[in-house]
Symmetry: C2
Subunit: 104 residues, 2 copies
DNA sequence: AAGTCATGCAGGTATTTACCTGCATATTAA
DNA sequence: TTAATATGCAGGTAAATACCTGCATGACTT
């Protein structure tokens, strides 16, 4: 997994909105997604390309349409590497700070 | 929470390394962190500023040093909003794609 | 008080990013 | 086959980003 690509992809509100749109209805076409975005189609294409490069979205061509599907695997990997690790020590880390603020 | 700030902060390898360094040893000073980074101190300062703006790191001044602490709360919020949601439907989404690829 | 050490602030540059317009291609419909 | 529809590709620009250098400030040490 490339954490850089995944986090960069998630760091834009338009791309997170695209994921939310696909979450509501998976398999939407480019045009369908564009209708909800308030920007030129080409811009949306670019955003979807970034999501695909990060492997967060997979697309399939059907006739003249391109259908888009969420791939939840990279998000799971991000969770394993970046979230769970911090979750475990959540309380003890806060405890470190508290101690420091209290003057050792 | 500002998802934009949090994801942008996490989207840079230097900043993720800073979090890893703080995870290993919480409460390090700027100079201490710099020693592990291979870039000018000013650049590291900037990265730490971004982590602080995203509330992923909190700093405390002690004498002439600035000590840095991980704040795990925003990561937890990201998990709640962006990861858990996708985790739940992980299998069913894969199922959608499989069906589509098989031609409905 | 003078010197050293840790950090802050101002600004400058090259690259990346997020938009756009315009034109080309490929598929379905009439 | 002609028209309409859905998407792809080639650029172009303004803003954001990730670095840097140089100088200033503030805190311990002697």
């Amino acid at each position: 997994m490339d954490a850089d690509d995944i986090f960069k992809a998630l760091s834009d509100p338009t791309r997170r909105k695209l994921l939310d749109l696909l979450f509501e209805k998976n398999g939407q076409s480019l045009g369908e997604l564009c209708a909800n975005l308030d920007m030129a189609r080409q811009s949306a294409t670019q955003h979807l390309g970034i999501l695909e490069a990060a492997n967060l979205v997979t697309s399939v061509r059907r006739g003249r349409e391109k259908l888009h599907f969420i791939n939840p695997v990279p998000i799971h990997e991000v969770y394993e590497r970046w979230v769970r690790k911090f979750e475990v020590q959540r309380l003890s880390l806060l405890h470190d700070l508290k101690k420091e603020l209290e003057g050792e």
